[in-house]
Structures are given as structure tokens and as C-alpha cells.
């Protein structure tokens, strides 16, 4: 029941819209079906299966908007939710930022759905976790992990005849493998739309090898180092930066994208020339929906070109105020890189630190986007092109903007979270203290 086809969703939305008496009405309908297994100390700790569907109505009289939602779908409930939204709209103050609804739009079908992923059963999950446990048990290591999959649909319709529908699948896996002494720890995480790409056995082997390889780490002095960030570590730093690609906060003077004296840094050379970032909903490795919640088409967009800020995102309201086209941000980004593998990047490094991932990243100064956080689950010293020994974890204080001005080399991008991210060689990365944590 939770996953409706395009036609089924359209039928419900049309029915709900027929109950509306407001000047403008927008309805969204979404559902998900999925399950998970959590394990720790080499045994399953919890497992669950969840199926939910929700309908939300937003009604507007003039510039007064009210919203209500419901998870029951009989006619009486559907009438009730529309009535409730209309009642709340009458009580609401006028919203000076209200934008008139968009009319019909055309969106291409997305690539986000995979039938095999949608067919995952509890047995599939148990088998995938079993493979991971076979690695930790055989090597006398301890595994703690989480496997989750879901199928989702989203549909919107409004009183100006806009309709959009998308269906997607996702499977994600992460595991931390530690040695029994607690002196070594390794981690991997991966997510895909397509189940066939997920190999929990191979991923767990990487985590196990990092757990063994990182045991008995040596302390070296904190300071500025050349680092090789694995794609996961690079992605940890970048996700904080992408939130800043918002034109409104830049225009308002409260973002690292704000320009001294007013305005934004659009068009400025903010990063090294080898930094090129775009998003494309039709990229087969990181597909996304082709429309956003406002009913705006998501199109291929260049955000950074040769280190220059090429675009900032605009909401419909801010675009209207600034006389530009609205441009939604899309987190399925592609950070272009080269052809080198992680191993090749290591080989070309005279002295440096290899970072598996970062942990507990928090903003220290939103003005410079200074972040702090720590390395975790496998940090290694590199000398003359080889990994020499594991090192203790560091705390860093660094800005991704400064980091992307110090790019020495970029490797081949791989799927990391919802983006394609290359391993990166960065000079002068600032580690400020040591941590005893394993």
C-alpha cells in the first residue's frame, strides 16, 4: 500500500483537490516501504520493517496559508484534512513571501528506481549482514553495523494543474570493525539506488583490514600536513560547504559567500582552478528526482567552474525579488576529478597523512566556514609513496574553502553518500591536537 503508482497517486490527489475551497491549494503525497538490521558485538541487536504513507495539504486564501497532514485515506479523512488546512489558513497571518502557484510543468522521468532494490526482503538483509559478520568472526574481530533499504514515492499536485511524481530506491550499509583489544578500528559506508552494486562482503573486508592496520597507532605532532582524504573524508568536509551556496543568506551578508561591502561572491575565484562541481539529476551513478518540492525542474547545473563560483541557488521568492530564475540546489553533486586511484595518490606523496573519515564535524565560525572535527577509523602516515604506520587520531580546525584552495591532486570520483567525490590530496591541512580515541 505504501508505494503507489503514478496513476494511483494522481487519483488520490485529484480527489483531495476536488474538496478544496481555497484560492490556491497544493497537495503532496508520499510513502515509503523499508527495513533495517542493526548489529553489534557480532550479533543482531535490532531489526525492523516500516511502511508509512502521508498526505499534506497546503491551502491559501489571499496570502494566508495553512497546512495540515494525515495518514488515513478514507474519504472522510481526506475531506477533514482539507478542511483543517483551510481553517488554519483563515487563522494565519499574511505571508509577505507567498508566491503564486506554478502551472503545469513537464519533467523527464528520473533514474532513481531499481526494481531489484525494491524487492529486498528481510531474508536478503539477513544474508547481506551474514556476509559482513563472516568477515569479522573469521578474523576474530568485532563488528557493529547497520543495513537499511527503502522504496519511496513522492507526488505533488496543485490547483493550477501542476502534477509531478517520482519513485526511488535506496540501500545503505555501514560497518565499524574493531579488534578485540580495542586498539584498532576500521569503517566503511556506502549507499546505492541499485542493490547489485552493494557488496557487503568486500566492504567488510576493507573495514577489517583498516581495523588490523590501524592497531597500535603512533602519536605524531599535530600541525599542518599534506593529507590524502579518502572520498568519505572529503565528502564529510564538503557537505557543510554546500549549504552556503544559497543566494539569500549571501545577499543578506551572513554567509561565507557574502562579499565585503555587500553582494555575493558569485563569479569570484574562490577555489583552486582544478575545482569543478556540478549536479545532474540524470547522472546514472547519482540520480535524483527531476523536480523539487516547489514543482521546479531540477536541471544539470554547474556550481563551480575552474574554481570560480558559477551559480548560487535561489528560492522562488528570492529569485523573484532579485529578478532572476529560481534555481534549486541538488545534493546529488559530481565533484570532477582525475583518473588516479587512491593508491596512485599515495604513491605520489613524499610525506603525508591518509584520512579514512572525519567525525563530529561542527561549525566554529560561519563567516569563514571554519570547521572542527576529528579523524576516525584509520589514520596513517605516508612517507616516500608508502603507508608507513598508523597514527593516532587528530583534531582539525580547517575551512573547506581554504582546503579547496590547497588542492594538489584529485583522484577518480566514486559514489559517496548521494554524490560522486574524488579522493583528494590537500596541502597544509591544519591539525590542532591529538586524540587517544580509537
Amino acid at each position: 500500500m505504501a508505494i503507489l503508482s503514478k496513476e494511483e497517486a494522481q487519483t488520490i490527489l485529484k480527489k483531495v483537490l476536488s474538496y478544496s475551497k481555497a484560492d490556491a491549494c497544493e497537495i503532496s503525497l508520499s510513502g515509503s516501504d523499508g527495513g533495517n538490521i542493526r548489529y553489534a558485538r557480532n550479533a543482531v541487536s535490532t531489526a525492523g520493517q516500516i511502511s508509512v504513507m502521508n498526505l499534506a495539504v497546503s491551502s491559501t486564501f489571499g496570502k494566508k496559508t495553512g497546512s495540515a497532514s494525515i495518514n488515513e485515506f478514507d474519504d472522510a479523512s481526506l475531506q477533514k484534512v482539507v478542511k483543517r488546512a483551510e481553517e488554519l489558513a483563515m487563522l494565519a497571518p499574511e505571508n509577505p513571501e507567498f508566491m503564486p502557484l506554478l502551472g503545469p510543468q513537464t519533467f523527464p522521468d528520473s533514474l532513481t528506481f531499481n526494481a531489484k532494490t525494491a524487492a529486498i526482503t528481510p531474508d536478503t538483509r539477513a544474508e547481506m549482514v551474514g556476509k559482513s559478520l563472516s568477515i569479522s568472526k573469521a578474523a576474530n574481530l568485532d563488528a557493529a553495523g547497520f543495513l537499511e533499504n527503502s522504496t519511496r514515492f513522492n507526488a505533488v499536485m496543485n490547483s493550477k494543474n501542476l502534477f509531478a511524481y517520482n519513485k526511488s530506491t535506496d540501500v545503505s550499509f555501514s560497518v565499524t570493525i574493531r579488534n578485540k583489544e580495542g586498539t584498532g578500528s576500521g569503517y566503511v559506508e556506502q549507499s546505492f539506488n541499485d542493490l547489485d552494486k552493494m557488496d557487503t562482503l568486500a566492504l567488510s573486508k576493507i573495514a577489517a583490514s583498516k581495523a588490523t592496520g590501524s592497531a597500535s597507532a603512533k602519536a605524531i605532532e599535530p600541525g599542518k600536513y599534506t593529507v590524502i582524504l579518502e572520498p568519505l573524508a572529503a565528502s564529510d568536509m564538503l557537505s557543510n560547504m554546500f549549504r552556503g551556496f544559497d543566494a539569500r543568506s549571501a545577499d543578506e551578508g551572513r554567509s561565507f559567500m557574502s562579499k565585503k561591502g555587500g553582494g555575493t561572491r558569485l563569479g569570484e575565484q574562490l577555489f583552486s582552478e582544478n575545482v569543478n562541481i556540478y549536479s545532474d539529476p540524470m547522472n546514472a551513478e547519482v540520480p535524483s528526482a527531476t523536480w523539487n518540492g516547489d514543482g521546479i525542474a531540477i536541471k544539470k547545473t554547474q556550481w563551480v567552474e575552474n574554481g570560480k563560483v558559477k551559480n548560487l541557488s535561489y528560492s522562488r521568492y528570492w529569485a523573484d525579488k532579485k529578478g532572476v530564475q529560481p534555481l534549486p540546489f541538488n545534493r546529488s553533486i559530481v565533484f570532477e576529478g582525475g583518473t588516479q586511484s587512491l593508491e596512485e595518490l599515495i604513491k605520489s606523496t613524499e610525506k603525508g597523512i591518509l584520512v579514512t573519515r572525519f567525525w563530529y564535524i561542527r561549525s566554529v565560525d560561519p563567516q569563514t566556514l571554519l570547521l572542527t572535527g576529528l579523524t576516525r577509523d584509520g589514520t596513517f602516515y605516508i612517507e616516500n609513496g608508502e603507508i608507513k604506520f598508523p597514527v593516532k587520531n587528530f583534531r582539525f580546525n580547517e575551512s573547506p574553502v581554504i582546503m579547496l584552495n590547497n588542492v594538489e591532486a584529485l583522484g577518480k570520483p566514486v559514489r559517496t553518500g548521494s554524490g560522486m567525490i574524488p579522493p583528494m590530496k590537500i596541502r597544509d591541512f591544519t591539525f590542532t591536537s591529538l586524540s587517544d580515541a580509537v
Binding site: S69, L88, R254, Q367
Partner: protein, 537 residues
Amino acid sequence: MTGVGVGASLLDSRSVFGRQISVEESLNPVDVKLKKKMADIALNTAKSKGATYADVRIGRYLNQVISTREAQVQNIGNSESYGIGIRVIANGSWGFAATNDLSDESISKAAENAVAIAKGNSKLMIEPVKLASQKGFGEVSWKTPIEKNAFEVPIKEKVDLLLLVNSEAMKLGAKYVNSSIFMVNEQKYFASTEGSYIEQDIHRIWPNFTVTKIDAAGGKFETRNALSAPMGMGFEYLTPKEDEKIKGGPVTMYKKRYDILEDIKEATVHVDEKLKANPVAPGKWDLILDPSHLFLTIHESVGHTTELDRVLGYEANYAGTSFLTLDKWESKKFNFGSKLVNVIADKTEPGSLGAVGYDDEGVKCGSWDLIKDGILVNYQTIRDQAHIIGLSESQGCCYADSWDSIQFQRMPNVSLAPGKENLAAADMIKNVEKGIYMFGRNSYSIDQQRYNFQFSGQLAYEIKDGKIAGMVKDASYQSNTQEFWNSCTALCGPADYRLGGTFSDGKGQPGQVSAVSHGSATTRFNGVSVINTGKKL
């Protein structure tokens, strides 16, 4: 953990949830007789299908949030989430199922599913669940002792208050101001095969604001957040009382009543001072930490560190483990902090976020020592892990953030006991030669075993030869948990004791949030490493 982003570990990771309902609807609780009938259907079905233990949580979770910016209302949300979660032990393993369809058939089916999942999980079992004994309490109830139900206060009154807050800031030259009130009411019903039928009505409130000024010519901006605390209280928290204020220092501080109109005015002036403040000189400083700041350092470095499930490895793949391994506790001489450091775990303190009558597995709540005279003496645990530290009863730390989440170990209030003598903060700073006095929470980060941390505040003042010598900016302190707590050299007295807290401490996979308070008085730490975090792009 708070916030956003990757590893969005641990505070503030939750927005409004559930379905939107009318305000009137939220004021009608579900009849307790109906809840008992539903609970019995679940318990009886579970037993008939082979469960050796079962518990049921019927939860109605209400959230209301009102948020504004400058002269406009951004959002009024009023939501409800209602359903039943059934947890069982069968063949020695846990199973869980939940549904929001509360028909008799659906409840029976969910109970049956929970038993089937438990039996399925038992095939991968290493050892069967050992549950600490717990007597049934029969039909009992508990309520947060509130004076004014925030859900009964008209929306207009709340909107008007927030818009007045914003206009006060704008009058004083603020460029932007956001303000909000977040209100929670958990109407929870717990029943178990051990004979408990527990009804609880739990209330929380959190007013907050952020005021921003811009120095466009210099390309700079500064903000200051409210120095309120999220509380386990009703709307009375927003009725100011003079005897609940601490004045005389550089900042007015609030105990169990908050004056939002006074705080916004001070905050707007503070932002000007922040824009002009001198950068801090990095090095070793004595820190004087106000409870509005220290609560978060306690949360991260003591609260999470003493969670037994983390110590054992159950959170290894997400939040991490803990350096307070069992051998340190067994030794009875692990020096967590200086002799002045006494940390108490508590689920009863009035006004605190953790205060409930019973936890989410039917254990009556109390309080106990975690750190006694600087020594690690105990952890925080629940029924299926109590035996590991030799306890015959649970400490009552079980919580689920929704009817459809599985309950597990969550932090009780973890508070630093104030000093025995009635020292005031104004007197404490008189003896400080070179110090930094910090207020409010800001950036916070700690490693996965809770050794190395870095924190900063909303406001930092330099203390020079016993006197406040002006505001400084870009100050963060870095330390190691054990070293830090051993550098504690003075505590203000009971009259200075206040609660801080968070609505959304994150833990578990899939992630859950919980609300928790941390009390302390103003406290001094000697010779802590302070770094300057100012940079130029």
C-alpha cells in the same frame, strides 16, 4: 548532538514530526480505559504466541512550534503522532513491531509480528536476553508538575510575544532576528506482562532566538542566541520572576523563569560588542564556565562517557564507544576528576527534561552517583544490561522517542553538584588573575571515545587581575576529558545552580532523539588550552 550534517551525531537533530492537527484536538487525551484494553490485547496475543515477556507503549506525541523572523511568522506547526509499539522476548531474543492502526485486529497482528521477529532473531543469538527483575506497579500515573499548559495558551499570544521580541531587537539596530517557541507533550501509556499499567503526561518547552548584526563594510557578521534553557515545564517558564534572575555580572542569567524580552535587549547590545571585540590570545587560561555553557561540556564529556551501552560497544558504528571501560570502574580508584567533582545521574529533578515517574520499560525513576569525589563509581543502564555491572535492578534509563521506535538506553539528567559553600560567581572571579568567563553554547565537538573535545560559547569575557576586562572573540578551548575535570578547582554554591539542556540528543540507528538536562553552578577550571579560531578567506 546538535545540528546538522554528517555524523549528525548527537544534539538537535529533529524537526516537527507526525500529522498536523487542530489545537483543540491536541487537548483531548485518549481515555485510559481504552488504552488498557488495547494494551491487554497486545500483551495477551504476545503471550499466546510464545512471548516470555512483553511490553506495550501507546504513545500520543504532540509538538507545537511557532517560528518567526523580523516582522513575520514563518511557521505555525501543530502535530500529533499516535500509535502503539510492542516489544517482546521470545526464544531469548527481542522482537519489536509497531502500528498506527489501533483496531483490535491490527494490534493483535503487530504483537504476532513482534513475536515472529524475535523468533527470527533468535537464530542469530549468541546469548539470551537477561532482564533485571522489575515488580509490576498496577495502575499508576505521573505528570510533569506544570502551572500552565503551553498547548492551552492561544497561538496568538505566543505569536505576539515572539513578534515583540523581534521588534525590540530591531529597535536596537538588529539587522535580522529569528525567534521560536517549541513545545512538546508526550502522553504515554506503558503496560507489561509484569502487571504495570502506567500513564504519564510529560511537558517540555524551549523558547529561543538568534539576533544578527552585519558590518557590511568590513564583510563581517555576528550573532547571539538566547540564554534560555529547554525545560521540563509549562508556559510558566516564560513568566519572568525577579528572584529567579542572577544579576550583577556581565550577563543576566535565568533560573526557572526566563525573561525573553530582557534577554533580547541584552543580546542585541552584546552583538555590537562582539563585532568590536578583541581576538583572544591563544594559550593557557583559567576558565570560568557559566552553567548556560558548562551543561554541554558535561553532556558530551560525562553524560555520554558513562553510558553503559557505549562502554560495551553497542553504539560502536555510530556515536562510538567510551574510554571509561569496565576495568576503570572495577578498580574503584579511577580518577575521573578532582576531589571537588561529584556528578549525579537523575530522573526526578523538577523542571528538568529528564524528569519522569517511570522510564519506557516500567522502571520507577530515581537518582544515583556517577562520579563521587572525583572517582568513577557507576554507569547509566537499563534492564537487559544491568546484570553486566552486577545490579539486580535497572537504573531506569530506557527511552524511545516515539511509539514506533524501539526503546533503548538514553542519558538521564547528568549534573555536576554545586560546591558546599555558597560562593557567588562575582566572588569567584575576584581570585582569577588571567581567565576567560564563558556563557552560552556554541560550537562543540568530541571524539568517539570522549577523550578530546573542543567547545566555544556565545559570549567570552577576559578576566584580568580579578576583574572583567571586556569581551574577546574567536575563543575555543581544547582539552582531554580526564585532564579537564582534574583541573576543576572551584565551584559556586547551590544558589548559583541552574539547568541547561537539549531537546534533541541523538543516538542509535535509525537515529532517535531525547531531551536531557544538565545542572551545575558556575565552575572554575585552571590552565586550559584556548585557541584562536579567527581566519581570513
